[in-house]
């Protein structure tokens, strides 16, 4: 079993970003009841029931095609379910809730402007005053170790740097929940390490982190609790240690062991 990385404390200068430590409780719990997504006769998400109450990093794990990305998009409000309900902190899924979240996609999506401008753009959308935008953007860049690229065109950066930038942008928005869809799937190990450190840092600042991954190793390193999906169904939801030591289902056991789960 690979060693769990030492947890890194973030510099104190970033304390100003930390306004949510106590209040991320507002968006929790995340409750899903009979959540389904059906297209063309196929049930892509099949009647998922879930209650997510704890802080920390939740990992959504499963083989490719299990519906993990779809589930994330559903709880972020990018797709509408065909059945069932989603509740964040007792409130229905809508634009207001989405504003309190931030999402990072598998492939980094950056505008044709500088790294810093990408962040100030997002802050502008949130209505942050111009005077504040620059300082917050720079803080976020420092957090991600990208401050020397502040005025580099974002799309010129390497894959790993771009993804870190996307994460920095998400964090600059001060979200209560941070959702990530296979953020390191196409990155080299060093970049993966940076990203994972940032996620752990975010967790420490009280942000609820939900990460989708098919990488068991990454799940082991990050997860507090694991949601295991297969064929659109929620197979298991357990605290991480228990899941990895004693998975309840055969599919989970097979998947953890590294087999191909059809």
């Amino acid at each position: 079993m690979p060693p769990i990385l030492p947890m890194l404390e973030q510099p104190g200068s970033l304390a100003t970003l930390d306004t949510r430590a106590s209040s991320s409780g507002h968006v929790l719990p995340l409750e899903l009841r009979r959540l389904s997504l059906e297209t063309g006769g196929r049930r892509l998400i099949d009647s998922v029931d879930l209650k997510l109450e704890e802080q920390g990093i939740t990992v959504i794990l499963g083989p490719n095609g299990a519906g993990k990305s779809l589930l994330l998009r559903l709880v972020h409000g990018l797709i509408a379910p065909t059945d069932g309900i989603i509740r964040w902190g007792g409130m229905p899924m809508d634009d207001e809730i989405r504003r309190r979240q931030a999402m990072v996609f598998q492939k980094p999506v950056l505008l044709r402007r500088t790294a810093a401008a990408n962040i100030t753009y997002a802050l502008g959308l949130r209505g942050i005053a111009r005077s504040e935008r620059n300082s917050r953007a720079l803080q976020a860049l420092e957090l991600a170790g990208l401050e020397r690229h502040a005025f580099t065109p974002a799309r010129v950066l390497s894959g790993g740097e771009q993804q870190r930038l996307c994460l920095a942008r998400a964090l600059s928005l001060d979200p209560e929940a941070l959702l990530l869809d296979e953020p390191t799937a196409s990155l080299d190990p060093a970049s993966t390490l940076s990203i994972e450190r940032l996620l752990i840092g975010a967790k420490h600042r009280g942000i609820k982190v939900i990460v989708v991954t098919h990488d068991v190793g990454q799940a082991r390193r990050l997860a507090q609790d694991v949601i295991f999906l297969h064929h659109g169904r929620l197979i298991e939801h357990q605290p991480a240690e228990r899941f990895f030591e004693h998975p309840k289902s055969d599919t989970a056991r097979a998947f953890i062991a590294g087999g191909l789960v059809l």
Partner: protein
């Protein structure tokens, strides 16, 4: 056989000595077309952007009509504007017929569909990449349109150039609504038509070359900007 060389020479002489009549014609052509392009760009960007972003009912029909209008013959556009601005027409009171303003209006009608249709395509292509992220960040439809337009700015330069090309080259619309009046509404293209009808073929050709040269300069300048852009991975 045409005595091209002699006539070309005298035409070039006109250019070199900056013949005031020639300059007047060039200035009018540029002012009419550049103004029309500017107005059409504002309208076209907005329409194209909204069409790409907003999923309103009937969207496909509007897009189809827009694409069809790209093929609107200039002379037909001219006729429509003429009938509107004629003293016997609904907008006769404006007394705009046979003025450069009428020519601008006609060219705006010609260029806007091209700009709108190509802008829509550009924005749709960008949206493929950006849609989820922008929605995640909470951008409204209007904000998405503005973002796409700015982000696609270098591709959109080509779109504007397409509109410019169509306008600077056309003669049908400006001839009908402008009347090719000496010193008032005579542009390069209508002057070329006139000289051709007077049999001054070589002069007409020379004017045509000047027109091409101007269009070339505009294109080179704007494509140069594009080059710079791709150098910085903005394109």
């Amino acid at each position: 056989m045409l005595d091209l060389s002699h006539a070309f020479a005298s035409a070039l002489w006109q250019i070199v000595t900056l013949d005031p009549q020639l300059l007047e014609i060039i200035a009018l052509s540029l002012k009419v077309t550049l103004t029309a392009v500017t107005i059409a760009t504002f309208i076209g960007f907005a329409v194209g952007g909204v069409l790409a972003v907003d999923r309103f009912p009937g969207r496909a029909a509007v897009a189809a009509v827009l694409n069809a209008l790209m093929g609107l013959p200039p002379v037909v556009a001219g006729l429509i504007v003429y009938l509107l601005l004629s003293n016997a027409g609904p907008l006769g009171v404006l007394q705009l017929l046979y003025t450069p303003e009428a020519m601008i209006i006609a060219q705006v009608i010609l260029i806007t569909p091209i700009v709108a249709a190509l802008t829509r395509q550009t924005c749709e292509d960008l949206l493929e990449e950006y849609r989820d992220q922008l929605r995640s960040l909470g951008a409204s439809s209007a904000e998405i349109v503005m973002t796409l337009l700015w982000d696609g700015r270098y591709r959109l330069i080509t779109v504007v150039l397409a509109g410019f090309g169509r306008a600077i080259a056309e003669v049908g619309a400006v001839m009908i609504v402008g009347g090719n009046i000496d010193h008032v509404t005579r542009t390069m293209t209508t002057a070329i038509a006139l000289e051709t009808s007077k049999g001054n073929i070589a002069l007409a050709l020379a004017l045509g070359m000047i027109l091409l040269a101007i269009a070339l300069v505009v294109n080179v300048a704007l494509m140069g900007i594009r080059r710079l852009a791709s150098h910085f991975a903005y394109a």
